[in-house]
Symmetry: C2
């Protein structure tokens, strides 16, 4: 579908992408973690996309198996949600992924 191609292009063209919801504290945690790391992700707030929001969330589920937010991509690779991202950060692996994507 066109929306699916759109999402694929977005994560391919942007080194760090966070699909988020503005009211969600888990989404806020991930965004603020990247900010602390000096990274400026492309943030897509699904609740600000009107009827397209749920559609994009469905596409993400098809592409990644994950239907929740936040949904994080680095270097085009699906990373996971908040817990996954924080886990990688604590293991030191997040910064590795970021430098491999030429972000840090």
């Amino acid at each position: 579908s066109r929306l699916e191609e759109n999402v694929k292009k977005t994560v391919a063209d942007n080194p760090v992408v966070v699909y988020s919801k503005t009211w969600c504290s888990y989404s806020a945690e991930v965004k603020s973690l990247f900010k602390r790391l000096g990274v400026n992700p492309l943030v897509i707030e699904l609740d600000e996309l009107g009827p397209q929001g749920p559609q994009v969330q469905k596409v993400l589920e098809r592409l990644t198996g994950q239907h929740t937010v936040p949904n994080v991509f680095i270097g085009g690779k699906h990373i996971g949600g908040c817990t996954d991202t924080v886990k990688l950060y604590r293991k030191g692996e997040l910064e590795t992924l970021l430098s491999e994507a030429n972000v840090k």
Copy 2:
């Protein structure tokens, strides 16, 4: 208002009350913390109340100054959100509040 009286009665009549949303991970964290402590809170899922949900959320804001979920009460006292509750737990104060409310 009648809804306000309703909420006041709910938190007065139930030793532990959590106003929550079913999709929210912060709400889930608080509910699971109480579960681990062997506490069975009255959980009110605001997203399952239809149009009353936002109204109850507004009443809670009027009563507590807090417009977010989760919104936690122990022994009729407003405790706060997820972060506040976890902080009290780590300080050992949550279990004190629970026993004072005859819950633990």
